[in-house]
Every structure is written in C-alpha cells, then in structure tokens.
Amino acid sequence: MKGIGVSPGISVGRACVIRKIKSSIHEIPPESEADILREVERFDLAIQQSVIDIEILLEKGKHTLLTEELAILETQIEFLNDPQLKENVEIKINTEHKTATIALEEVIQSLIDLFEQMDDEYLRTKAEDFKDIGKRILVHLNGDQATAQLLHPDDPCILIAEDFSPSETISLDASKVLGMATRLGGKTSHTAIIARTKGIPAVAGCGESLDLVCDNDLLILDGLEGLVWINPDEDTITKYTILQEEYRKHSEWLKSLKDAPALTTDGHKITLKANISAVEDMETVLEHGGEGVGLLRTELLFMGRKSYPAEEEQFEFYQQIAGKSRQMPVTVRTIDIGADKQLPWLNLSAENNPVLGYRAIRICLDRPELFMTQLRAILRASKYGKLKIMFPMISSLQELRSAKAMLMEAKKQLTDEKISFDADIETGIMIEVPSAALITDILVREVDFFSIGTNDLCQYTLAVDRMNEQVAYLYDPYHPAVLRLIQQVIQQAGNNQIEVSLCGELASDPQATMLLMGLGLTVFSMSAASIPQIKNIIISNSMEKAREVAQKVMLMEDSNQIKTYLQLINP
C-alpha cells in the first residue's frame, strides 16, 4: 500500500485500528451499579451535546436555510429528546448490561429497520434521520473518549486511523506508538509535523486501501518511502529488519554530529534552529544540536481547554521555555489560530474559507484583551532568556503597525507597573502571505527579522488548500513563483542587514537545503529531529556549489525540472 511518507523511519509491529465511530468493540460492558449509572450519564450527555449541535445549526441557518431544512433539524431535536429513545437505550444498558454505544447502535438500527419497512413513503425517509442522529450521538459518545483510550495502548503498536486531530497526536506516547498510518493528510498536516517531532515513523494519505488493515495484522511501515505492508512474507520482513538496522546506524551517525557546527566546506556558517510547541520539546532540541528555537508555536497553550489561559499561566509556559533555552534565542510566535481549529472558548463561527478568514493576527487585533494578555506574558518572561516576538500572517504595513502599537502598549503597561522585561526584545514577522513577501522592502524598515513560513506562503501563492486531497498535488514549494518570493525576501533582508530565517517544511527538506543556502539563507528552523540530516548536507558541501545550484534553479521554468535537478545533485 502506498501513501505519503511524512515522518522517516521504519517500524515493524502489530496494527491497532482506531475507528472513530465504530469503536464500541473496545468498550467494557457495564456490570456494577456505578458502571451502569456512568453509561446512562454518558448517553444523556451525548444527547445534550447533540441537541446543542443542532440548535447551533438552526441558529446559524435561521435566515439561510429553507423551511424544509429547518423542519428537518427541528424534527431531529424532537427525536433526540424523545423519551422513548432514552427509555429504549436505558433498558439495554440497565438490564442487558450493554454499553451506551452498543445500546444506542442497536436502538437506532431497530428504528431504521422499522421505518424502512413502512408503507408510507414519507415515513421511510425518516430512516435517514435516524442514521444521522445516531451518528451524531455516537460521535459525542465515543469520539474523544474511546480514541483517547486507544491512543495509549498497553503494548507497542502501529496506530491506524482516518486522521489524528492535533490534540490526539500531541497526547501520543512515543514509547508505545511504533508508527502511524492515516487515510487522510499529507506532509504538512499536523499529524506529520508532530510525528516528526516525536520521531514516530508515519505514513499519511493512504486512502481507502487502509481499510484493509485489521487489528493485530502484522505491519511494516516505511515512513521514508511512504509504504505500508500488511502481513508481509518472511523475505520482506527480513529485508525491512535489515533496513531498520541501517536506518538506526545512520541515525546514530547523524546524532554524533550533534555538537559539530554547521559549517560548509568553505567555512560559511549556517544556523540550525528548531520549531517547537511544548516545554518538553526543548530537550529534543538540545539532543539534536539545535541552536535555538526559530519558531515556538503557542497554539497548544490555547487548545484542548475550556477557557482562555490567564496571563500567569502563559507567563509560566514562556518562562519555562526561556529557562531551558540556555540563553539561545527563542522566537515566540503569537497565537496563530483560525476556524479550522476548535477552540470552544474563542467562539469562532464556522467559515466557508477559514484559511482566508478570521485568523491569527486578525483575531488578535480584533480582540485586544486576548492579544494583550499574551504579549504581556511573553514580555514578562523575556528577562529569563533571549526571547523574540513574531507576528504571524501579516499582510500589510498597517497590520504590522497595529500589532507593534499593541506591543508598545503592553510594554508601557509593564513599565508603569514596574515589572521588568527585556526592553530590547526583537520583533519580527512571518512572511507567509504573498502580499507581505512582495512588500518586504517596505516592511523591512520596521522589523528586526523576517521568518519565511513556506507552508502558508505556498498555499496562498498557488491558491491550493493543502488539506484538500483533491488538489494537494498542486501544493508545490518548488514552483518558481514560490521560489522567487523566497529569493526576494532573502535579498531584501540581506540588503537591510536584518536576520531572515525559514521555518516552513522546506527547511527540513534535504532536497531544498543547497538551493536555500545558495539563495543566501543562513538560518533554518525545522523539527528538531531533522536537524542532523540537514547539518550532514551542509558540512558535506561548499557555499560556492550551493550558489551555483541556486543560480541554475532560478533559471529553470518549472518545478519538475527543478526537482529532478535537485535530486540529481543530492542523491
């Protein structure tokens, strides 16, 4: 089976399949009074949550939905609140000792059967509604809870799932998870990024063929080539066991590079930093010889919780990171979040086009209290290390100035309150919107550094939703348009002697290293685990050659030609 290799490494192990909806098989039937009560409560809660779901749909659709559609939703609420439904499910839990999930599945199925047999055509269509509400309740019943159990298996195994949500991937225990394979996703999905950070081999985008995998199948997962073997023969197992050993040896050699500086053969120094999102990640950074943090994602601080984190809590987070950084620079990116991530306390309404919508700096400028809290927390932590502040998704000078004005205000507040902070804290921006990339000559005068975010820059430049499987093939950071923007940003930064780094996926792509160096990039920031491999390329090559490579590439007409050439020079 072929997918996309998103986190290198080879793992051999048993499959553990996570099916979000049909996860009932893993639940234990309730026996004691307390178990039964818990199952009933779990069911009641799922019903309440499902009703809220639909009420929200109704509220949002008040003016846009057709009368028929509104009626369907109202009827569904009626079904969800139906005492008969509740009674039927509770009988199964109480007297037949079934779990809420199984009880519900059975009750819904019997309703579907009953209505599908009716001679009234209209009533037959109600079977669809039962399927619908059944699914909705099941999601609330199981979704997170059942998955959460599976995410922490007792024995090491290879996890198989539709996809992992960011919070799920984050909670994975790397010692128990040998590998991961998902139906959806690609190189830049959250699953991929976090799997790489944790060093778990992963294959994404396997498509429907992944359904062939059953629990306890023996799997071989090749996270480099993006291959998954189901119940392979002896020869294949032997072959991969050898490959696994080779990979391990190669990794060890790369590890030995830890304290070596990233110098080209002709003596040019490149700085390799890490992208991190949690305090624990600092250890991985040091382990892999990272020279600081080029991107500290702060979203985790805000995710998987019921309310907005207070200044004190945020401060502690930044302070701990600063404390572990050994005075190496740490670039803190202010919250970069939008409607594609669920933050209940933020109350973001669903958007047709979240990537182009209300997100990141746009939310921060619109909700000063939220932004101010974060800025104050970062500033307060700045005296414990060398922190820098970075604003994401800046698209105009105006936005940059507004953000900086807020930062000034935060500094003023702290000064007035006699709270100390690093008054010279460097302030920079992500260059990830094409409009910003095209006016770097203007923006450069008002910042201390640029950081190129190639993931978003690429998706915005090429008008490709990188999460949409149907167009994902168009997502191509080697497109000459993207490379020209990158080149322009690096040149503008160079002309004005400010630092420019690159913190997107491209930084960890070995095929891109020579090209980026040749374009004049001196600071790379990537997942810590990728640092040794990139360092290996840098120390084996000269800047002279890199410049030659960049020159040639920038004359090429299309990305296929570029990629073929880069592969050739970097076998």
């Binding site: 009626a71 369907i72 109202e74 009827t75 009626e78 079904f79 139906d82 005492p83 008969q84 439904l85 309703l111 009953l114 209505f115 009716m118 009234d120 209209y122 009533l123 109600k126």
Partner: protein, 88 residues
C-alpha cells in the same frame, strides 16, 4: 379521564412537522395525553411513537386526556386535529 375520536383530515396523515406541533401542544398541559389507533396506544410525548403509529388520512384515532386541565387540553388538541391539520 376524557377521550374523543378524530378522523385524520390531512391528506398526508401526521407527518413530522404537524407531529412536532402536536407534541409541543400536548406538552403545554399538565394532563397526560395518549393516542390510540387500532388498539395500539402511545403516550403523546414521543415523536418516535407517534410516527410509528403512522396515522393516515381517513383513519380514526382516539385521544385520551387525564389530569387537572384535561378539558382545555382535549379542546386544544381537538381544535388542532379539525382545523390545523387540514392545512399542514
């Protein structure tokens, strides 16, 4: 307890929308309301049960009301059957 028979006058029988309205109406009273068709009786608090009974055009159903406000309840429900249901 008081009860009364009604003939369903709506050509479509009692579909989800009128059923929703009927349930909402029945809920406004303290009395307990039951509906009977072909010797099958269900309590008028469950959409599932009401639809499963599937009362159709021309069929007769019996509405029984029991409680302190049974008189008003039966009147209101009767009004619903004779008037509202025709249009919905």
């Amino acid at each position: 307890m008081i009860s009364k028979d009604y003939i369903i006058l709506s050509p479509d029988g009692i579909h989800a929308r009128p059923a929703t309205a009927l349930l909402k109406l029945a809920r406004q009273f303290k009395s307990v309301v039951h509906v009977t068709k072909n010797q099958k009786t269900v309590r008028l608090n469950s959409m599932l049960n009401l639809l499963a009974l599937s009362p159709k055009f021309g069929e007769t159903i019996t509405v029984s009301v029991d409680g302190e406000d049974e008189q008003e309840a039966l009147e209101a429900i009767g009004f619903f059957f004779t008037e509202n249901l025709k249009d919905i």
